[in-house]
C-alpha cells in the first residue's frame, strides 16, 4: 500500500480563529490525506509532541496572532532537538515579506498567505511530502524505504508450511 500523507494542522498561540485552519484541514482530507487536527491554543511543545507521536510528514501551522517570529523558530528548534528535523514545517497567516524570508531561511519550507486557494496548498504538499524520508529517497511504489523492513528471506509461517508439503 502506498504510504499515506499525514499532516498535522495546528493552531499555536493565543488567537481564537481556527476557521482558516479548519478549511485547510478539510481540503487536505478531501485530497485523500490524513489530517491530525490538534485544536486551538496549543503550546509549541504539545504541537511538536503530537507531530512526533502521529509521525506526520508535514506540520502545518496557522498563525494569525502576529507571533510567527517566535512560534515558528521555536517549533523548528524543538523538532530538531527531538530528532525530527526532517519533518516539513509550513505556515499560514498574515506574514510580512521580510519575516517570510527570514523564516524560510531558518527552515520553514513554505508560507501561504491569507486567501491562498486550498488547491495550491494541496498540490504543494503532494509534491513535497514523503520525498524526504530519513534516507532521502522514495521507494518504487511510493513507500519510504525506512519503513520497508520485511526481510524477504525470513520465511513466513505460510511459506514454511508450503515447503514442507
Amino acid at each position: 500500500m502506498e504510504r499515506k500523507i499525514r499532516v498535522l494542522v495546528g493552531k499555536p498561540g493565543l488567537d481564537g480563529h481556527d476557521r482558516g485552519a479548519k478549511v485547510v484541514a478539510a481540503a487536505l482530507r478531501d485530497a485523500g490525506m490524513e489530517v491530525i487536527y490538534t485544536g486551538l491554543h496549543q503550546t509549541c511543545e504539545s504541537i511538536v509532541d503530537a507531530a512526533i507521536q502521529e509521525d506526520v510528514q508535514v506540520v502545518g501551522l496557522s498563525i494569525l496572532s502576529g507571533a510567527h517570529m517566535t512560534i515558528l523558530p521555536r517549533i523548528l528548534k524543538l523538532l530538531k532537538t527531538r530528532k525530527a528535523g526532517d519533518m516539513i514545517v509550513i505556515g499560514g497567516g498574515i506574514i510580512p515579506a521580510d519575516d517570510a524570508k527570514k523564516l524560510e531561511k531558518m527552515g520553514v519550507r513554505r508560507l501561504f498567505g491569507p486567501g491562498t486557494p486550498t488547491v495550491e496548498i494541496v498540490d504543494w504538499i503532494r509534491a513535497n511530502a514523503g520525498k524526504v524520508g530519513k534516507s532521502g529517497k522514495v521507494g518504487k511504489s511510493g513507500k519510504v524505504p525506512r519503513h520497508q523492513t520485511v526481510k524477504k528471506k525470513k520465511a513466513t509461517a505460510v511459506a514454511r508450511w508450503r515447503k514442507k508439503k
Binding site: 502506498e2 485523500g32 490524513e34 490538534t38 503530537a50 520485511v150 505460510v158 508439503k165
Partner: protein
C-alpha cells in the same frame, strides 16, 4: 543503522519517535518482520476498548481516565480511531482535540488512526499498533473506536475490557440492545449525566442488561459520568481495575486472550491468502474474460470459483 535490531531497541526503550515510526510501518503493511520480533515483548499491557455512538464523549472520557492512571504512576498508550472517507480516502482525525491535557506528558503516547476502509469500527492494523504500544512498556492501552452505530463491534475482539459509552440523547436503550453494543459491554457508561434523561437511561440499561446473557461473578457496572467535568471517572477507574481482577481470578483473561490470538491468526491467514490471490491467481484480465463468459451463461460463477480454488490448492503444494 536502520535494521530491525536497532528499531526494536528503540521501541523497548520507549523512544517516542521510534514508536511512532513503527506504528506507521504497521499501518502501511511493511512491518511483518518487525512485528515478529516485537511480539515476544507483548502481553503485559492491559487493553481497554472505549466505544459508543458519535459524539458520546469517548475522547473526553479517555482523556479523563488516562489522567487518573497517570496519577497512579502508570504509562498510557492511546489509540484513537476516526473514519476515513470512503470517497477520498482521506481522514480528519480530531480526537486529540479532547486530549490536549495529555499531549506533552512523558508517560503518554497518543496515536490517531484512520479506519482506512475497515468497517468494524477500528482500522485493520489497530490491533498490531496496540501490540507496538504494549511492547513499548505501556501499562494500559486505551483504544477509542470510531463513533459506532449498530454493527461496528470489532473492538470486543481486541480488548480485555470493553467500555460502552452511551448518552441520554443517543436514543433509548432498545436501540442499543438491537445494536449488539450491549452484548460486548463489560462496563456501561452513561456520559453527559449533566443532561436530562440520564437516570432514565440507566434504569433502562439495567433492565436490558438483566435480559442479556451474562457471565457469573461480574456485575456489569452501569456508571454515570460527566467527562467534561471529570465527574464519575474515579468510579470508572475502579470498575476497570475490578474487571481486570475478575478476569485474572477466574482464569478468563487467559482464555479470552487465547481466543483472540486464534482469531488474529485466522485473520492473518485470510489476508495472506487474499493478497496471494490478487497477486498470483486472479489476474484482472483473465477474470474479465471469465466474467464475460459467465455473463453470456457459458459458465457459471459456482464452477469458476471451484476451479480457481482448486488452482490455489494445487499451486501451494
Amino acid at each position: 543503522m536502520d535494521g530491525i535490531e536497532h528499531r526494536l531497541r528503540g521501541l523497548l526503550r520507549g523512544e517516542k519517535r521510534m514508536i511512532a515510526q513503527i506504528i506507521s510501518a504497521v499501518e502501511n503493511d511493511c512491518a511483518q518482520g518487525l512485528l515478529q520480533n516485537i511480539f515476544p515483548y507483548t502481553g503485559r499491557a492491559y487493553h481497554v476498548g472505549i466505544t459508543g455512538p458519535p459524539g458520546a464523549g469517548k475522547s473526553t472520557l479517555v482523556n479523563a481516565v488516562a489522567k487518573q492512571f497517570l496519577q497512579q504512576g502508570k504509562k498510557i498508550g492511546i489509540i484513537a480511531v476516526d473514519p476515513s472517507s470512503p470517497f477520498s480516502g482521506g481522514a480528519l482525525l480530531g480526537d486529540r482535540v479532547r486530549m490536549t491535557d495529555l499531549a506533552a506528558h512523558r508517560d503518554v503516547f497518543i496515536r490517531s488512526m484512520a479506519s482506512r476502509g475497515s468497517l468494524g469500527g477500528l482500522a485493520r492494523t489497530t490491533k498490531d499498533a496496540a501490540l507496538v504500544l504494549d511492547a513499548a512498556g505501556m501499562d494500559y492501552v486505551l483504544i477509542e473506536t470510531i463513533g459506532v452505530g449498530q454493527v461496528e463491534l470489532d473492538i470486543a475482539g481486541v480488548c480485555d475490557t470493553t467500555v460502552v459509552v452511551l448518552v441520554p440523547e443517543s436514543g433509548d436503550s432498545i436501540q442499543a440492545m438491537k445494536a449488539g453494543l450491549l452484548e460486548i459491554a463489560d462496563i456501561l457508561v452513561v456520559n453527559k449525566s449533566d443532561r436530562d434523561g440520564s437516570e432514565r437511561l440507566v434504569m433502562e440499561l439495567k433492565f436490558a442488561m438483566e435480559m442479556r446473557e451474562r457471565e457469573p461473578d461480574w456485575e456489569y457496572p452501569i456508571l454515570m459520568t460527566t467527562a467534561t467535568e471529570e465527574k464519575g471517572i474515579g468510579q470508572l477507574v475502579i470498575a476497570l481495575q475490578a474487571h481486570i481482577d475478575h478476569l485474572s481470578m477466574t482464569g478468563k483473561l487467559e482464555e479470552q486472550r487465547k481466543a483472540k490470538l486464534l482469531h488474529h491468526v485466522h485473520e492473518l491467514v485470510e489476508q495472506k491468502i487474499r493478497s496471494h490471490l490478487e497477486e498470483n491467481v486472479m489476474h484482472e484480465h483473465d477474470l474479465r474474460t471469465l466474467v464475460d463468459r459467465i455473463y453470456r451463461r457459458r459458465l457459471d460463477p459456482y464452477r469458476v470459483a471451484e476451479r480457481i480454488a482448486r488452482k490455489i490448492v494445487k499451486g501451494s503444494r
